[in-house]
Each structure stands twice: as C-alpha cells, then as structure tokens.
C-alpha cells in the first residue's frame, strides 16, 4: 500500500510541469473533438425524428446520468448506484409540482417554478444520501447507495399519495413558450445537447479546478489529505451535491422526453444500467459515459432485430448486455476508452512521444484508482 503511494508521489512533479497545458480548454487542439461537436450541432439535418430523439437525445440523457456517476467514481472514488434514483426523484418532482394528467396529485405550477424546485429537492435528496454514504468507505458505498435506490423504487410502488403507485404519473406537460413547443423534436434535441455540453464542460472544468484536484487527492489517499488539512468528508459530500445536480438535470430532461414517470423507470435494474453505461464507456474521462450510453442505446434499440436476423432469440438483449459488460470488466480497467488507448499505444509503440507517455500515466492512474475503489 505505502509503496504504491510513494511511487505516485514521484510521478507528481511531471504532472505539475504539464499543469499549465492541462489548464487550457479541453481537447481544443483535437480535430476529432471538433468534428464530433460539429456533427452533433448539425444532427437535425442528418437524422430524422426517430434517430434524433430515440437514439441521440436518449443517449445524451442517459450519458448525463452516467456522467454524474463518472464524476463520483472517477474523481471521488465513490461508486454510487443511486444516480438514477436522484434523476428519477427529480423527474417525479417535475411531475408532482408541474402540470400532468393526474390532476389530483400535480400542483399545476408553471414549468419555470416546478423545474428549479425539482432540481433543488433532488439535489438535497442526493446530498443527504451522499452524506449517509460517506459515513462508510469504498465498497460499502455501493451497498448503501444500492439499498437507497431499491428503497426508493419500492416506496414509489407503494405510495399512492405522492407517487401514484405503480402506474406513475402520466401526460406530464412540457414547456411551451416564445411560440415554440420545446418538446418538438428539434428544439428538444438542442435543449438536451446544450445541457449535456454544459455539464460535460463543467465536469471537465471542475476536474482541473482546486476542488476537483483536492477530490482526486481524497480518492487516492484520504488520510494524507486529512493530514494536509483538507476536510475529507466535506469534499465527498460536495462531490455528491454536484453530481446530484447533474443527475437532477438529466431527470428533468427524461420526464420531458417520455412525458411520464413510473416506478419502472427507477427500478434497481435501471440503476445498474447506469453503472454499466459508465463502466463500459470508461470512468476516467467525462466523455466515457456518453460513449457508453451510445453503445447501450444502440444495443437496446437494435439488438432485438440483430439477434433475430442471426436466427437467435431476440429477447436475450439483457444477456448480451451482461456478457458485454463482463467482457469489458475482464479485459479493460477503463472501458471502451481504455481499449482504444491501449490500441493506439500499440500502434505507436516505441515512438515514445510525450502524449503517449501521458496516456500511459493516465492509464496507470486509472487502474490504481479502480483498485482502491
């Protein structure tokens, strides 16, 4: 244990030298990132309604939830399974405070009052859950957050006064102002894209801000950080608060997307799906969850047809997901991104370029991070 820590300390000066470069805008010199951004912006010209909403907007929404998990797991070392629960709570709150088909439950507030209320309540909910989870460490976090998520699922199933039991709340109203129906395919896609981009850059910025660096220090060695005068638990709870806010945003978008919310959307299986998305994509970089979400959504949408075409039972979609997840966990500590990086490294082996070294370092850091849990 202590050996590993000392090894990491000797690595640190190089990181400090590179710091000035790291401070700049993320990926600003990367042509691939510009290409992806451009394609995302002109997507409505390429894709029709089904692909735009069912594939890309859904990907971005799921990616946002997984992003909040990635922030906690990658930078804070806390694998929280309740991120979907927070999103679901926020979605329920939008439905309860806003306008919906269940007039006996919904309070009928306008969306610009209901949404901030939902965001605030969901953030408080997630922060309280986080404050509970940080009382224990590492692997216990998974158990406690899973228990919270499952308790919320069973509660929504049983409670009829607020959550309307297992039928949930239907026909939730979506915003409609300035003469634009914001739930129409193209405006909604741009809303989702804007929120996703904001959250992506916010996570990227925080990871390099003093708070994010302290959080990564807490992840790697909480005792040393405590000795340096950092309040370890306060950093962790603050990380939960931020991640809860991101998840709450995703929840608002999700309820606008489907126009309904029911216990099925906050089930334990769905909570675990978010973990799968984040892990498959890779939990060391903010872009990972979005890649994972794209893979997941594509599989979920097309696996049935694909399996039937191969002459197999189309209902075995979850088996495919599970096996794919197992394969990723077995062979790559950093999801698809890790596989891609190791492939790139093999392509350039022996070149010894500075970016190659940086990749190797980050890969090493991630494997240590995941080992410490």
């Amino acid at each position: 244990m202590s050996l590993a820590h000392d090894a990491r300390v000797t690595v640190r000066p190089t990181a400090a030298v590179q710091r000035s470069r790291l401070r700049g805008w993320p990926e600003i010199d990367n042509p691939a990132a510009w290409a992806v951004a451009a394609i995302l912006l002109i997507m409505p010209l390429i894709a029709n309604g089904f692909f735009l909403i069912e594939i890309f907007a859904t990907t971005l929404i799921l990616g946002l939830m997984a992003l909040s998990l990635m922030f906690l797991a990658g930078y804070g070392g806390m694998v929280s399974l309740m991120q979907l629960t927070i999103a679901g709570f926020s979605a329920y709150m939008v439905a309860v405070f806003g306008v919906s088909g269940n007039a006996n439950i919904s309070l009928g507030w306008p969306w610009w009052l209901a949404v901030p209320m939902a965001l605030a309540l969901a953030t408080i909910f997630g922060t309280l859950g986080g404050a509970l989870a940080v009382r224990t460490e590492g692997i216990y976090t998974i158990m406690i957050t899973l228990a919270i998520g499952a308790a919320f699922y069973y509660f929504t199933n049983q409670n009829w006064a607020i959550f309307n039991g297992h039928t949930g709340i239907n026909t939730v109203a979506t915003p409609n102002f300035w003469g634009v129906n914001w739930r129409a395919d193209i405006p909604f896609y741009y809303i989702v894209l804007a929120v996703a981009a904001l959250c992506y850059f916010a996570v990227d910025y925080i990871s390099r801000a003093p708070f994010g660096l302290a959080l990564q220090g807490v992840r790697d060695n909480p005792r040393r950080m405590a000795a340096l005068g950092f309040n370890v638990n306060a950093h962790r709870v603050a990380a939960y608060a931020f991640a809860s806010f991101v998840a709450a945003l995703a929840g608002v978008l999700q309820v606008w997307n489907y126009r309904q919310i029911s216990p099925g959307s906050v089930s334990v299986g769905a909570c675990i799906d978010i973990l799968i998305i984040a892990v498959v994509g890779g939990i060391t970089r903010p872009v990972g969850p979005f890649i994972g979400a794209l893979i997941f959504v594509l599989l979920r949408t097309f696996a049935l047809d694909f399996l039937v075409k191969l002459g197999l039972d189309g209902n075995r979609f979850r088996l495919l997901i599970g096996l794919g997840f197992l394969a990723i966990v077995f062979w790559s500590s950093d999801g698809v991104i890790g596989l891609w990086q190791s492939w790139r490294r093999r392509q350039r082996s022996g070149a010894g370029s500075s970016s190659g070294r940086r990749d190797r370092e980050s890969g090493q850091r991630s494997s240590q991070g995941s080992r410490h849990g």
Partner: protein, 336 residues
C-alpha cells in the same frame, strides 16, 4: 452482559423495559381498551410470528452473504441470483421426485457447485480488487437473471409443501377469551415454524462450527487478517473455496425455503439481494450474530410495518438502516 449494564445503565433499563413490554404483549390477554386502540391480538401475534419466520429466511440468505464478504471482501451482488437458482432447482427436484427434503440437499449441492466455479474461475483472478469483483458480480447477476428467465419463464412457482407439514398448529398463546370464559389459542402454519426452527439450528451450527472447530478458527483468523493467515502456511485458496461454497449453498437452501412459503419469480433475486444488503448493513458486515440480529429486526419491521402502517412499510426498513448508519456506521454487532 454485566459490563454492558455497568457502562450504559440507562440503555440497559430501556432494553429491559422493552423486553418486558414485548413479553406482556405476547402472553397476556389484551384488555379491551388496547384492542380498540391497536387492533385484535391475533393480528399482532400473526404479524409477529410472520416477522420472526421471515427473519429466519433473511438470516439464511444474509449469513452466506456476510460470510463471503467477511472473509474475501467480496460484495457478491450475484447472491440474489444464487438464491433464485436454488429455489428453481428445489422446485424442479420436488416436482420431479416429490421429496421436499431431497430438494434441499440437491439445491445446496448445486448452488455450492456454482459458488465453487465462480470462486475458482472468476474471483481468484482478481483477488484484492474489490471494485472489479463487485462489477463482475453485477454482470453475473444480469447474465444469471436472463438465463433463468430464459429457462424458467416469467411464471410464479411454489415449492409443494409436504403433507406432514400442511395445516396449522395450535400454539399455547391466548389470543382472546370467549364470552363463555374459554380461551382461544393462536393457530399458526406448522411449516413456517419448522422452517424457522431449521434456520435457528443452521445458525447455531454455523456459530458452533466457526467458534469451536479448527476450520472455523481458520476462517475467523482469515476474517481478521487474511495476509497473516496465508503467511502461517494455511492454504488460503482452499479456505476461500470452502467458504464460498458454503455461502452459496446457504443461499440455495434459502431459495427452497423462500419458494415454499412465498413464491419464486424473476425479480425475487433483487428483492432478496436488497434484503441481505440491508440486513448486513444493519447487523454489521462479516458478522454472523450481526446477520441474525439484523435479519430479525428487518423481518419484524417489514411484517409489523405492513400490518400497522401499510404504505410506509419499506420506509421503516430504510429508516432503520439510516438510523444504524448514523449511530453505528459499522453495523450493530461489527467489531470494527
């Protein structure tokens, strides 16, 4: 015990009063005022017994979970799948042969075999990487759940209770007194009592095996310090396999029990995984007595809650967990 009384006299007094009240509630004939306020005594006693027997079932599931966690630091989130697998195996055997007892034996052996395979093929490769192991168990639980859905479908199954266990038995507990002065005794399903007795026997046997035998000593040493135990020359991998087999086998047995007095269907795996998570969080991870206490508390809370505050039964369970985490984050009976 006496040290606890000396240290916390106020708590000891509260515990004694609580036990006295509970005993009075169970044995005394309730006065009319109490029946008006709370409900019939028969309802209360039934909920109490259901809670205790459910606690026995939870103990069977959670003890394997906590044993595996305590020794190998492996949070086996596929434990619920092992439970459901054992249940399906038990159903198949009892439907094919008609023997209830045989279904337990076969379910234990088969789930223990699955456990051995998991430990040898999967978990041995990633020893010491807690998070990765947990991820793998999540993946496995998804795969198992889908395979079982494939094989058994989405129907409900119930293991047939043997003839000699069907029917209620009269317990020497008075529920009410008729106007003629004749007491009415509580009637309770025999099979539930037998299953509860069996889980107590299994619990005591596990306690004895852990505290009075050589292999138990090795396991306890492994729970305390795995590396030091390996350094003294114990073949630790063999111990891991044995413990994993035992823990998985217990989950399988619990599956048959659950299939007998509840039912088996997809989704039960997650329900029992959650139950064992909450039980070990409340009782203390890695502690067998903790699992017993936690199972009793959660079982009682669930059943009494579902009778007296039906909408919020699950919240009571959850509040207990929150309370324990707030007061004793390591669990009620954990040493660390």
């Amino acid at each position: 015990m006496s040290r606890f009384v000396e240290r916390h006299p106020a708590w000891a007094l509260i515990v004694v009063i609580a036990i006295a009240v509970a005993l009075w509630l169970i044995f005394a004939v309730w006065p009319q005022g109490l029946e008006d306020a709370v409900g019939r005594k028969r309802v209360f006693l039934n909920a109490l017994f259901n809670g205790i027997t459910l606690g026995g079932l939870y103990f069977l599931v959670a003890s394997g979970f906590t044993l595996i966690f305590g020794l190998m630091r492996n949070v086996n989130l596929a434990h619920g799948s092992l439970y459901l697998f054992g249940g399906y195996v038990g159903y198949a055997i009892s439907a094919a042969t008609g023997s209830w007892v045989l279904s337990f034996v076969v379910a234990f052996i088969l789930t223990a075999l699955v456990g051995v395979l998991l430990q040898v093929i999967v978990f041995r490769r990633m020893e010491g990487q807690d998070l990765r192991q947990t991820m793998v168990t999540i993946g496995l639980s998804i795969v198992f759940a889908d395979l079982m859905l494939w094989a058994c479908g989405g129907d409900f199954y119930q293991v047939q209770t043997p003839n000699w266990l069907i029917g209620p038995v009269e317990l020497p507990l008075v529920t009410a007194v008729k106007s003629s002065g004749e007491p009415v005794y509580l009637r309770y399903p025999l099979v539930r009592l037998v299953i509860f007795a069996a889980s107590v026997v299994i619990g005591v046997a596990m306690w004895l095996a852990l505290n009075r035998t050589r292999i138990g000593m090795i396991i306890r040493a492994g729970v305390d310090d795995r590396d030091m135990l390996a350094a003294t020359g114990v073949r630790i991998q063999l111990v891991f396999v044995v413990v994993f087999a035992l823990g998985a086998g217990l989950a399988g047995v619990a599956g048959v029990v659950g299939g007998t007095f509840q039912s088996l269907s997809p989704g039960e795996d997650i329900r029992f995984l959650l139950a064992s998570l909450v039980v070990v969080i409340v009782g203390g991870m890695g502690s067998i007595p903790g699992a017993a206490l936690g199972a009793l508390i959660i079982g009682l809370a669930e059943q009494l809650g579902s009778v007296y505050i039906p909408t919020y039964a699950i919240v009571v369970t959850f509040l207990i967990m929150v309370l324990v985490l707030a007061i004793r984050p390591q669990g009620l009976l954990a040493r660390r």
